[in-house]
Symmetry: C2
Subunit: 415 residues, 2 copies
């Protein structure tokens, strides 16, 4: 099998594993495949490599190595933080989160509700912003934890997590942030941030799938979620995923070295793409605030065109982009993030996320701009805006929903 | 880094990743690193590879592919089965398991107890056997699930899981078996077995660490443990560990092809090793029944010698073996498995597990036999049996325990 020719603009879904990361992992698949918990040298020697990787991911977020628990993914990290808060604070039965979290939090919240816990999903404004006063007012005496993502995976909108951490500290509740979209793109300093828990996923950072971490601030009580042997100092059972952990460590090291690049070069590519779309293709609008936002993400609505058609035609040109998040693809529902921002279902279903990465080039941006303009023109030619909406209105069983869909006002909500 | 020269007899701790498995994984690290949930071809194409891997692991255990949930490890699989049983059977608050389970079950049981559930740990006989009558009598009206391992990781002793499954079915309780030590060594047929849940771990089967599976019998209600996106048909959140899953599939395929070999060639190597030790080294005894037992495992007590010393000297000769399981190494406690079988703490601390695998050769067995005889002789020369026991008796604060330790009778309990 050879490498396919693709134009990859979906780095918030997953990232290319860096060649340097694969290089770092291979010895631990081929030669050093022992169990790190063993007493003999062949296994025991792995300990120093795990330590090194732990130090590297800790350095990336300015944590102490002992504050890092390796998990299998960001979802497990998120679940673990919330469950630990509820378990270690008996009597506290409320979780406060937002309506635009990753499905890991939304669905876990629903599972908690079934088990008798109360979960509040805070709404967001049209530009994706949170009302911090409302957040503070929503903290109850029985609130165990507030969980708010740092950067939205669909729009790139950043939440003021430092301010939220301060509110939580003042109110005596724990604070968790899902920071899965941030490493390599933003500087992460857990000391300055003040969060009690922070989740990361390696495969969003040019490391492989199947590995993540949960930062737990020193002194914060923690109850393991995956419970077994004494691995991770008794905080996460299961034989350590040595190649994955080593790869994560190498990726963290690479990310620290290129942080400036991602915030300048990738940002300028993203801006060129976004401005190019908004200026050259009529009936387009950005979803979510321009700033504060991840430097790599752009979410654009294309009036009167179904995202499904856009994705299909771009795919034929080798262009990888997405609508909604990869984790909810396949469901026919409109993005819960965009609808929470007040977008109509029609607008949400006409929106495309572009998420750039370190391997993108200016030539690739030009290629996307060219094909995108042709694609939108072609789709609009076969289904003019009005017809498209009418067709959808007929399919819809929800009159109110249909009314919102046919209102052109909804296309301006987040501009 | 080059491959170290080792004599690896610790295959129950982890196994060498098969070269064929690494070969199968590499394209999914290097070239096909997309997100399988994506709509574009570059991501979507991964679906067929996941399907193929799922079909292969399903074939290994005679399950349907839809009955397989990929997890991150055996520990997660075990936790998931128990938690799902308790969640889907509200009002049922009791778990019945054994005192010799892997720490994944023992420690998770303790966590459940802290949360108000009742957990019974069934004792075993001196040869490691379970009393099935007692098991059945221990099922209560409020029992949600019985969880009994198929093969013990420390002694290789097999439990009659088919009979236990029948008891559970008759009594209307769910049955889970931790089968992590069995694949490649025993034929697994979940249809014939009749268990509701079965856990496997890839790294015990020449696939990489960080991937496992939970079999859930069709029709059995399941609540996900790691909750997030719609992956694994909504049964396990988190982006799929594609290289790990593909590797697991390839390993399952290889294991099916060599099942006969492991049960004959590996068994005869194990028997040669065990008989060689018992016949040529005085003061040795097998822990656990001779049969029914895994074909690859032998657990031997060396009277009057601390396992720690044996491990250290063998390690110098490049021989990898263990005392207890890798997952509990580092703790100074004597093996909970051997003590549950009535071994004195002294005997448990003088016991070594040899677990062979497909890559072992007869020459390696000869090498181990030679070095082991020298090692034991050397250790006994510096610390004769009586002295060793006296020294320990002085260190012990528990008079009863000391009395048992100094009784030579305890050396015969499981013979």
């Amino acid at each position: 099998m050879s490498s396919p020719a693709i134009y990859y603009f979906d780095n918030n879904a997953t990232t290319q594993v860096a060649p340097e990361v694969i290089e770092a992992m291979l010895p631990f698949l081929r030669d050093y495949w022992g169990n790190p918990s063993s007493t003999y040298g062949f296994g025991r020697q792995l300990g120093s490599h795990l330590d090194e990787a732990r130090a590297r991911v800790a350095a990336l977020i300015n944590a102490e190595p002992r504050e890092i628990i390796f998990t299998s993914c960001g979802t497990e990290s998120n679940n673990s933080a919330l469950q630990s808060a509820l378990t270690t604070r008996p009597g506290k039965t409320h979780v406060l989160t937002t309506a635009v979290e990753h499905s890991a939090n939304i669905k876990f919240g629903e599972a908690l509700q079934k088990r008798g816990y109360a979960v509040t999903y805070l709404p967001v404004a049209a530009d994706g912003a949170l009302d911090l006063e409302r957040l503070e007012q929503s903290i109850r005496p029985e609130t165990a934890i507030v969980s708010v993502m740092w950067a939205n995976n669909e729009t790139g909108v950043l939440f003021p997590v430092k301010e939220i951490a301060a509110i939580c500290q003042r109110r005596g509740v724990l604070f968790h942030t899902d920071a899965v979209q941030t490493p390599g793109k933003l500087k992460i300093d857990v000391r300055a941030l003040g969060a009690d828990f922070l989740s990361l996923s390696a495969h969003k950072l040019h490391a492989p799938k199947g590995i993540g971490l949960l930062y737990v601030k020193r002194g914060v009580k923690y109850q393991p979620y995956v419970v077994g042997g004494g691995q991770e100092r008794g905080r996460r059972g299961g034989t350590e995923n040595v190649p994955g952990i080593v790869g994560f460590g190498r990726a963290a090291e690479l990310a620290m070295a290129r942080l400036g690049d991602e915030d300048t070069r990738v940002r300028s590519l993203r801006d060129k793409l976004e401005e190019g779309i908004l200026q050259s293709i009529p009936g387009t609008a950005r979803n979510g605030a321009k700033e504060p936002r991840l430097p790599n993400t752009s979410n654009i609505a294309f009036a009167g065109v179904e995202a499904e058609g856009i994705l299909m035609l771009l795919d034929r040109a080798g262009i990888c982009v997405s609508s909604g998040s990869a984790c909810t693809t396949g469901s026919l529902e409109a993005s819960h993030v965009l609808t929470a921002m007040g977008c109509s279902a029609a607008r949400a279903r006409s929106s495309i996320r572009f998420s750039l990465g370190i391997y993108n080039t200016e030539a690739e941006v030009d290629y996307v701009l060219k094909h995108l303009a042709e694609t939108i023109a072609r789709l609009r030619a076969v289904a003019p805006v009005e017809e498209s909406f009418n067709a959808k209105a007929q399919r819809s069983n929800d009159a109110k929903e249909s009314a919102r869909e046919t209102s052109s006002a909804s296309w301006r909500t987040s501009e």
